[in-house]
């Protein structure tokens, strides 16, 4: 971990001198670069608001997400207490949207965690052990890579019926491949570093070295990839829901809301427009944060 390099003759203020003397970790550096990136900061603020709305919002809407009101069918926005209008069963769109956002974000988070655990374990073990085992494990990844995965997810949903837990597992199981490749590459370069030698000399076993020294040091690229995986997962779930294989009614996700909105768009544009906008804004903020993090953590050209 090197701090800033002070070239002789460069004029450095007392304050930076002091900072440099204390030593800045790579993470401090990355955080500063991230906070200077306007798109990433904007993404974080918007995402923060969306997450907050998804968590507490449903408690504050005048209607429940599954409450059917016969008199409010197709109520346009701003009428009869429906801020964003109502759907074909008179259910409040705002309440459904907030619930759908909650479900989509939760799926994004959980499925990404599943892929994170599988991917990091697989990649770290393959990269660390190397040799024949590495070759076999990575060949498995290669083979899985060339499968039309969406078909298997569809088959899974058809086979076991759609429930949320299965969606988590199915999508997570698809998304771990890239993660394992990234982690393996990092591990290969990390395992010959001095601190790993030192740990081995001190008598730590393979498992301990992987868990205590390898994995903490490959966090950077993993964090970047995680922020880019979450929107991919949300997209995958919405895609399944759009085909009628995802979250089942009356539960909602952004995908089911968009699918329903597309069916009824001639009668009620708001059912398509508001869920679509929410989806696009959510995906964009994740992508901005991910791009910003990549530039901050792994700056190729500073």
């Amino acid at each position: 971990m090197t701090g800033t390099i002070l070239t002789p003759g460069s004029r450095v203020g007392a304050e930076t001198m002091e900072k440099a003397a204390r030593g800045r970790s790579l993470w401090d550096d990355a955080r500063r670069r991230l906070l200077r990136n306007k798109a990433a900061v904007g993404g974080m603020i918007v995402l923060g608001l969306l997450v907050l709305a998804a968590i507490i919002g449903p408690y504050f809407t005048p209607y429940a997400y599954d409450q059917i009101n016969k008199d409010h069918v197709w109520a346009p926005p701003l009428t009869q207490g429906h801020l964003l209008g109502a759907d074909s069963l008179g259910r409040d769109l705002l309440a459904r949207l907030l619930t759908g956002l909650r479900v989509s974000l939760a799926i994004g988070l959980v499925a990404t965690t599943v892929s994170l655990i599988i991917g990091v374990a697989w990649g770290a073990i393959a990269g660390y052990l190397g040799g024949r085992i590495d070759e076999i494990m990575m060949r498995v990844v290669d083979v899985l890579y060339s499968l039309p995965f969406i078909f298997f997810v569809i088959l899974l949903m058809v086979t076991f019926g759609s429930n949320i837990i299965l969606i988590f597992v199915a999508i997570g199981a698809v998304e771990w491949l890239t993660m394992s490749r990234i982690v393996r590459g990092q591990t290969l370069s990390l395992k010959h570093k001095e601190f790993v030698e030192a740990a081995r000399a001190a008598g730590l076993g393979d498992g301990g070295i992987i868990a205590k020294h390898i994995i903490p040091n490959l966090l950077g690229p993993v964090v970047v990839y995680v922020t880019l995986t979450i929107p991919a997962v949300i997209l995958a779930e919405s895609f399944l829901s759009f085909l009628g294989l995802g979250v089942q009614p009356p539960m909602a996700s952004l995908g089911t809301l968009i699918a329903n909105g597309a069916q009824d768009m001639e009668l009620a544009w708001w059912l398509l427009v508001f869920p679509s906008l929410t989806m696009v804004v959510t995906l964009m903020s994740f992508n901005f944060i991910g791009d910003g993090l990549r530039d901050a953590i792994d700056p190729k050209d500073r």
């Binding site: 899974l156 768009m265 544009w269 901005f288």
Partner: protein
């Protein structure tokens, strides 16, 4: 070269075998059978039907029989479309999907590469920002949003183009589906091209070409582009996968008689053989495209040696 192709094909066979095996047993593990119709069949008739399709035998025997059929190029009869074989269904419907997929990938490559090169040449100028904004929007707006919105605005409100249907492949019916499929690909391709171009334009051999006094136009087209589109070639496989996923949505929204539409319906109806046929077809397609991508890579990049 031939040895390389041969080796890759040898790897492709076990992959395809794995695909068939997993899909076969997953499909059979699903509750329900293709013969659960609206009318309940009497047990004798059901037993007869099962016997006709060999489904009364133990599962591993059926699996063996199916594999033997596939090796001989026989994908079996459809269980739902009574008088058709799976091969016939594939033959009758691949055209729609192929037309959409091919047109989209060609359009997306031409537009995406042009935009990417333009952005890289005007790096950090307005053009660059505009192109990159379009690219980010293209990545973040999924096909199942663009498709209904375009139908609503262009077909329903303005009435410029038909909102659905194939109509024998008439151009007006094709425009919206192709646009929907192309947009996300343009976004990804222009980003990849820009990134590759920016890196290449900084390299030494481009500086050499400039120093020799070659015209900028020639430097970009002859020297830089060839190296810059390398990442694009590797994207060929994932692009095909993306187009297949997209076509599932597009064929549903625009009500097109393509393969994508068949897949979901057949899976829900437990039409085992049709689902298997499609999985094999798409898996083979992706494997072939990956092989082509590797070959192109070797042709374009003199540093790559096929071994």
């Amino acid at each position: 070269m031939l040895r390389f192709i041969g080796r890759r094909l040898l790897i492709a066979i076990p992959t395809l075998f794995l695909v068939i095996t997993v899909a076969f047993f997953m499909m059979r593990a699903a509750p329900g059978s293709p013969f659960d119709g609206d009318r309940k069949l009497s047990p004798e008739i059901e037993a007869n039907v099962m016997a006709k399709y060999g489904m009364d035998r133990p599962l591993h025997e059926q699996y063996g029989a199916y594999l033997a059929g596939v090796v001989q190029g026989d994908l079996g009869p459809s269980l739902k479309y009574k008088d058709k074989t799976v091969l016939q269904i594939l033959q009758e419907n691949y055209r729609v999907s192929l037309t959409l997929g091919l047109s989209s990938i060609i359009l997306a490559t031409v537009i995406g590469v042009s935009l990417g090169v333009l952005a890289a040449l005007r790096q950090n100028q307005t053009t660059d920002y505009v192109v990159m904004t379009i690219a980010i929007l293209g990545v973040c707006i999924p096909t199942f949003v663009t498709a209904p919105v375009l139908v609503l605005v262009i077909a329903s409100k303005l009435g410029w183009l038909p909102s659905a249907g194939w109509n024998g492949g008439a151009l007006p019916n094709l425009i919206l589906p192709i646009v929907v499929l192309t947009l996300p690909q343009v976004a990804i391709i222009s980003r990849l091209t820009r990134a590759g171009m920016v890196e290449v334009l900084r390299s030494n051999y481009i500086r050499t070409a400039r120093a020799k006094g070659l015209p900028e136009n020639r430097i970009v087209r002859r020297h830089a582009l060839r190296a810059a589109i390398l990442p694009l070639v590797s994207y060929l496989g994932p692009a095909a996968a993306g187009l297949i996923t997209g076509s599932l949505v597009v064929e549903k929204i625009f009500n097109l008689p393509g393969l994508g539409k068949f897949f979901v319906i057949s899976a829900l109806q437990r039409d085992y053989t049709v689902v298997m046929g499609m999985v094999i077809f798409y898996a083979a397609l992706i494997l072939i495209l990956n092989l082509i991508a590797d070959l192109l890579h070797a042709v374009l990049d003199p540093r790559v040696r096929l071994s």
